[in-house]
Amino acid sequence: MAEKVLMKGNEAIAEAAIIAGCRHYFGYPITPQTEIAAYMAKRMPKIGGVFLQAESEIAAINMVYGCSSAGKRVMTSSSSPGISLKQEGISYLAGSDLPCLIVNAQRGGPGLGGIQPSQSDYFQATKGGGHGDYHLIVLAPASVQEMAELTIKGFELADKYCMPVMLLADGTTGQMMEPVTFDFDVKPAPEKPWATTGTKMQREHNIVNSLYLQPEKLEVTNLERYKKYETVKENEAMWEEFMTEDADVVVAAFGIAARVSQNAVIEARKQGIKAGLIRPITLWPFPETPFKKAAEHAKAFISVELSMGQMIEDVKLSVSCTKPVYFCGRVGGMIPSPAEVLSAIKKADGGDR
């Protein structure tokens, strides 16, 4: 058993990336994810890796594109406004079927917003964000340990499906310290026969590209990509359930909102309300199964988010609007308190007791 260490979530991401075999990091500083870049700047030169502070977020994501084309495990990280800048590159990565890990430690928006935690980039992360039809696999850690685990999982999934993976964290999970162990069995990167590694005059040229001027061809690439997405949906949805088996009121929350909600659910149970929590770990693919199952007995659902209500749409779709889905959230860097969530639970359960 590896030793337990105390680390900030951001640092755990960086260390886990190194363990996953990532030796190339490109980024541009922004609060509240700067610890990732700082950690990489310190470690990469010592282990033969590359840390490069690009001239902008746009440059960094295109460096990721180049490095991934060459077959390497590569990552970048930023926070909300910086992730917006990266969207063009992310669309190109998706259109070229390139694996990589992108970390978004979300902060309040829109615009330059603030630097306190937020989850208001849910739409951007799960529904596109850049142009064109595409998806990212989106992973939502709720603890420092999970930030490490999902970083490694993220690299593995990216390579498995040849697509970009986003780790959707937030300011709080990035800044907090918790014990973490790095006891991982990492799947090494698979062979990448498509990578542009030089032909050595022994094979045809590999071309990594997202430009198809013939609509027939471009349509085929889209259709094939969506077949791949179907496989991802079937196999990769992850979630955690807490006291949902007999729940009347089911709270849906991810990341830091799930931590707060869990406290509220425990308190609700103490007060005799059958509350439960479904915590999506993958936001795309969205875990519909537990919601469908819970809808068979639950009276109502509540989506708890650090946004004006974004995931709530996926919760509604998952239960096919068979049960009411309420919203509870704070924005701008504020975090709902367990008491606020508890009062939403009571309301959904049918008035104060």
Partner: protein, 177 residues
């Protein structure tokens, strides 16, 4: 206590975050479940700085502490802001050198330690934070101080190891106050 939800608050530079780290590493050594959450951003530059530490025998839910059962107030604004939030039967530790007020609440256990003055008198300027931690540990038993040195060694960089001794001295002074 089964779960200590500790809020340490003061001006930036008073060592609130450092004191929280000491508690977190002590908890790690004692194999407790824990989280440490700092305030970050502009408030750290001379404004109010605070950190939340949760130490528990059970897995930690939310790392955010809005209603502490232990408050360490290092200046007046922190006292004014957080004293009403302490849960009934909770603890308050205040630096009485810098806080010219006392809690009117009857439902909390309040302790006043002239930590800044004590630190100055003992040649431990800047270590009022650890004096307050020492008093807090004595009254609450949130962690034991037996592994204090080991806890410091886990997060104080080697080049600053010389300062560990003074930190321990401050802890003891608070513990014995």
């Amino acid at each position: 206590m089964n779960t200590a939800t500790i809020l340490i608050a003061g001006f930036g530079g008073q060592g609130a975050l450092f004191a929280g780290k000491f508690l977190a590493y002590s908890g790690l050594i004692e194999e407790k479940q824990l989280s440490w959450l700092p305030s970050y951003g502009p408030e750290m530059r001379g404004g109010t700085a605070n950190c939340a530490v949760t130490l528990s025998d059970e897995p930690v839910g939310s790392p955010i502490v809005t209603e502490p059962n232990v408050l360490i107030a290092m200046n007046r604004p922190s006292f004014d802001k957080f004293e009403p939030a302490v849960v009934p039967d909770g603890y308050l530790f205040a630096d009485s050198t810098l806080i010219d007020a006392e809690s009117q609440r009857k439902d909390i256990k309040a302790f006043y330690v002239p930590a800044t003055k004590m630190a100055a008198d003992m040649g431990l300027t800047g270590l009022s934070n650890m004096i307050l931690i020492g008093k807090m540990v004595k009254e609450t038993g949130a962690v034991s101080l037996s592994d204090a040195e080991e806890a410091f060694k886990k997060f104080v960089p080697a080049k600053k190891a010389a300062l560990i001794e003074k930190n321990i001295e401050a802890l003891k002074a608070g513990f014995e106050y």
